[in-house]
């Protein structure tokens, strides 16, 4: 009998070289903030979760902690432990920290919207935080830096024109599991990295319960979808067909969230259709 080497369908690795990744993203931040947009100052909405913590670490390394302003924006139902976790990041990095509660602003509007369900309330909170971040940036001659990761962008698990609005985002092409890897490598406090991810818009909310799938599985499926594999080929790599379907449905149902508003084209000079200039021109 001759030895047989059996080759099965393989799955592309999502492993990252953390040192290489950190260096690349820090160079991006320096070029994009300092050289092109002319400010080293970054404003980050620090939630206590791993995404914004990672962005704070990258900004502090790239721009210096003295140029990083972390804004905590709790609503009255926000988990107190989120505030504590955000403070751990502020203390570890020596960045500026400020707490600006959004309860008055949110409740002021919601008094006129008594029928708002939890989803609408969550969107109002997210958009209020966006408003605060931009104003706090204007106050400091800074730029808001985004904290949305590739997984939530692909699943549409964010509030449109809220979490996705900052003009610079260093982690938007990293899957959630890659965010965890890089955060651990950079020394983000374990209380932040190891807790279940949560949008913290409702009590006891977790991302994975909301989504109906773990991030580890979602990332594997998303990566294969992006590489062009069909559902059958993805299932052949060990994923449950129902989970493949769930992920694909979320991606296909949210393409609009990854674009600017749809504008009726009526001329031969329509912006971004005929009139084409890169963002950095």
């Amino acid at each position: 009998m001759l030895p047989v080497v059996e080759v099965r369908p393989t799955e592309p690795s999502l492993q990252i070289d953390s040192a290489l990744t950190a260096g690349w993203l820090e160079a991006f931040l320096r070029d994009e903030m300092q050289e092109r947009r002319g400010t080293p100052r970054a404003v980050i909405g620090l939630s206590g979760g791993v995404d914004s913590a990672l962005v704070a670490y990258l900004c502090a390394r790239a721009l210096g902690p003295e140029n990083v302003y972390a804004i905590r924006m709790p609503y009255r139902t926000s988990s107190p432990s989120s505030l504590d976790d955000a403070q751990r990041v502020i203390d570890a990095l020596g960045i500026h920290g400020e707490t600006i509660p959004i309860s008055d602003a949110v409740d002021g509007y919601l008094a006129h919207a008594p029928d708002a369900d939890p989803r609408r309330k969550g969107n109002v909170m997210a958009r209020t935080r966006m408003l605060v971040l931009f104003d706090q940036s204007a106050r400091r001659g800074a730029l808001p830096v985004g904290t949305g990761n590739k997984t939530e962008r692909l699943l549409g698990y964010f509030t449109w024109h809220a979490d996705d609005t900052p003009p610079v985002n260093p982690i938007g092409d990293l899957f959630k599991t890659q965010v965890w890897d890089l955060a651990r490598w950079l020394g983000v406090p374990h209380e932040v990295v190891d807790k279940p991810p949560s949008a913290d818009l409702e009590a006891n909310q977790t991302d994975e319960a909301d989504l109906g799938i773990t991030y580890a599985k979602a990332d594997g499926i998303l990566n294969l979808i992006l590489l062009g594999y069909n559902d059958h080929a993805i299932a052949a790599r060990g994923y449950a067909p129902a989970e493949v379907k769930l992920v694909r449905r979320r991606v296909d149902g949210t393409h609009w969230k990854r674009h600017l508003p749809t504008t009726a084209l009526v001329s031969g000079t329509a912006i971004n259709e005929f009139y084409l200039r890169p963002v950095d021109f």
Binding site: I16, L20, E35, Y275
Partner: protein, 295 residues
């Protein structure tokens, strides 16, 4: 021949600033022995221009005059050869081109060669053929080193281009490039740069040819140009390489005898010349069949 390979970080669309940066490079090199200075693709404008290419493209004589003016302003008191990638306006037809010019001559500047990029990547992050017209000819030209050819970025990714250049007599291939870095799983190196190195090394080793690569660096709207300016011996060995992220210069002496020795040791190019007619006249090659259908 003493060559300098410049890893260059342009300011997007700011031609005067980029010419000034070119002048600074010349000032650094003018008093030394350098005979050939190579800048990357689209060095005077940045790579991703979209529709702005029509605002910034210039004709080859204009680009040549601008390069010559920088050399003289930097105190260049002798002739020097310069390669620079630029967007070319050729009477209303636009190309991604690279210019090979001899600067500092008493009579002015001499355009030795203009290569127009033949393979315009138009997939994924790339959109060149939406805005540009591809070059139609891969020519070789004479330099102080000997016969040379220019391949711009994707031109070099096709094994056939370097083969054609070598068959036409090239002993040096100059690759100005602008490559957005991607793939972070590598062992300390971008996956795209690992791929580049393999391509350039095998090109050099197969044909017994020097390969010099000048890469753009700096981020353009989130896309990081991956630098990695490098030089490969005619045996395929990596002689020098810069990292991906910082501007810099590789100074290197190119020795024609190394080409002769590499080809004497492994005469693949000679073998190819002998076998080429059998390969090329094979009527199963699609291009041959299509020509027959046309006639």
């Amino acid at each position: 021949m003493q060559a300098a390979l410049v890893q260059f970080k342009p300011r997007k669309g700011d031609v005067p600033a980029n010419l000034a940066a070119m002048r600074d490079v010349f000032a650094q090199l003018a008093s030394g022995p350098v005979e050939l200075i190579v800048f990357p693709e689209a060095a005077m404008t940045g790579y991703f221009l979209e529709g702005a290419v029509y605002e910034l493209a210039v004709d080859a004589p204009t680009m040549a005059a601008q390069v010559d003016a920088q050399w003289r302003a930097a105190g260049g008191s002798r002739p020097v050869d310069v390669v620079v990638g630029f967007y070319e306006n050729a009477f209303g037809t636009f190309h991604n081109s690279a210019l090979y010019v001899r600067c500092g001559l008493p009579e002015g500047v001499h355009i030795v060669h203009v290569h127009r990029k033949m393979f315009l990547p138009t997939y994924g992050v790339f959109d060149e053929e939406r805005f540009l017209t591809r070059g139609r000819r891969l020519s070789v030209f004479e330099t102080p080193f000997g016969t040379a050819a220019i391949l711009i970025c994707e031109d070099a990714w096709h094994a056939l281009t370097s083969t054609v250049a070598a068959l036409k007599g090239a002993r040096l291939i100059i690759v100005p490039s602008a490559s957005p870095g991607r793939g972070l799983s590598g062992n300390g190196e971008l996956e795209s740069n690992v791929r580049w190195r393999a391509i350039l090394s095998s090109m050099a080793a197969e044909h017994g040819i020097y390969v010099v690569y000048a890469g753009l660096t700096g981020f353009e709207g989130g896309k990081g140009m991956s630098g990695s300016t490098s030089a490969f011996s005619p045996r395929g060995d990596l002689l020098a390489s810069l990292g991906p992220l910082e501007p810099g210069i590789i100074s290197i002496e190119l020795d024609p005898a190394e080409v002769d020795l590499a080809r004497a040791t492994i005469p693949l190019l000679g073998d190819l010349s002998a076998v080429l007619p059998d390969l090329w006249l094979d009527d199963e090659i699609p291009v041959t069949r299509r020509l027959e259908e046309l006639t």
